[in-house]
């Protein structure tokens, strides 16, 4: 038996046993809460920094995160084009706490986004980045617990999201001039 499926069944089997856990999972797993919080964190980073140098560093981190998110999105969609994995509820008896998405289960795009934003947040502020990593991890666990993804789907999503940020960081010599132009344009229109 596939260990991925075994772990999924073990996690999903707890649904319905502790109502508080189910309620918290529904609060986290939906499409609105975590992605919006992550995006708001980037807005906060964009406007933080008491000195101009500090502001520039933070704003570069935000631009790098957005570039990495685009990269992660492209990677996930390319994988979807090559390989389709049915969702757990398509082939398993699942206790579902969510609606039934139709896109491929592997890899998880929402989790890729969450870990991308968390990694980007860490570039600007380690403590904030750690908090975002905790939130992203809870989000990933919630997606499996709620019956929407297999564990491997969210692990792959996490690696893609965090990895995309690392790629952009390694290519900072290419990304920074672009980021600086974007920041200068934003400052011209008082958006920074």
């Amino acid at each position: 038996m596939n260990p991925d499926v075994i772990l999924f069944r073990a996690m999903n089997s707890f649904v319905g046993t502790v109502p508080l856990v189910d309620a918290l999972t529904r609060a986290i797993v939906n499409d609105y809460a975590v992605p919006t919080i992550m995006a708001l964190a980037l807005v906060g980073i964009w406007f933080s920094g008491s000195e101009i140098n500090e502001q520039q560093t933070n704003q570069r981190a935000v631009v790098a995160t957005l570039i990495a998110f685009t990269l992660a999105l492209a990677i996930v969609k390319d994988i979807w084009n090559i390989y389709y994995r049915p969702r757990p509820f398509s082939s398993e008896e699942v206790k579902l706490l969510f609606y039934r998405p139709t896109m491929s289960s592997f890899p998880s795009l929402p989790v890729a986004m969450a870990f991308c934003f968390a990694s980007g947040g860490r570039l600007a502020n380690r403590r904030l980045g750690l908090a975002l990593y905790v939130l992203a991890t809870l989000f990933a666990i919630a997606r499996v617990y709620a019956g929407v993804h297999y564990p491997l789907d969210v692990i792959a999503g996490a690696f893609i999201g965090a990895g995309a940020v690392q790629i952009v960081v390694r290519l900072a010599h290419i990304a920074n001039p672009f980021a600086d132009r974007a920041i200068a344009l934003a400052r011209r229109f008082n958006f920074a």
Binding site: R26, A27, N30, D31, Y32, A33, P35, T36, A39, L40, V43, G44, I45, W46, F47, S48, G49, S50, Q55, F98, Y99, P101, L109, N190, F191
Partner: protein, 121 residues
């Protein structure tokens, strides 16, 4: 465009309100922590309290009033478009309020003799 067909207009409006008000709150908290007077509405401590309340209230309102968050709603492109629209709207409004409040504080703090015009003969 397929990404922006806004299948659920009510949910789109609700999500815009969530993003707009919480972005205003985030800006106030960031500005207070970074001592950015160009963005602050109030003093630092009051701005942090106000900003935190604005963010929390937005989320509480959204999740209590929107009953459709667990059914397929906004698409990914719609999320991004609405959030960007909220940022584009909230930032200038935030700056404008900061400017107006700063002007009010300056006028309120200036001596009465400066504010009152000299009577003409």
């Amino acid at each position: 465009m397929e990404l922006l067909h806004f299948d659920s207009p009510t949910q789109a409006v609700h999500y815009f309100i969530l993003c707009f008000s919480s972005i205003l709150g985030v800006i106030q908290v960031s500005a207070a922590r970074s001592r950015r007077r160009d963005l602050l509405w109030l003093d630092a401590r009051a701005s942090i309290i106000f900003g935190t309340l604005a963010i929390a209230a937005s989320f509480v309102w959204f999740f209590l009033t929107d009953e459709e968050i667990f059914v397929p709603g906004l698409a990914g492109g719609e999320f991004i478009a609405i959030f960007v629209a909220a940022v584009i709207t909230a930032v200038p409004i935030s700056r404008a309020i900061s400017f107006l409040l700063a002007r009010v504080r300056v006028i309120a703090a200036s001596p009465r003799s400066v504010r009152v015009k000299e009577p003409t003969l």
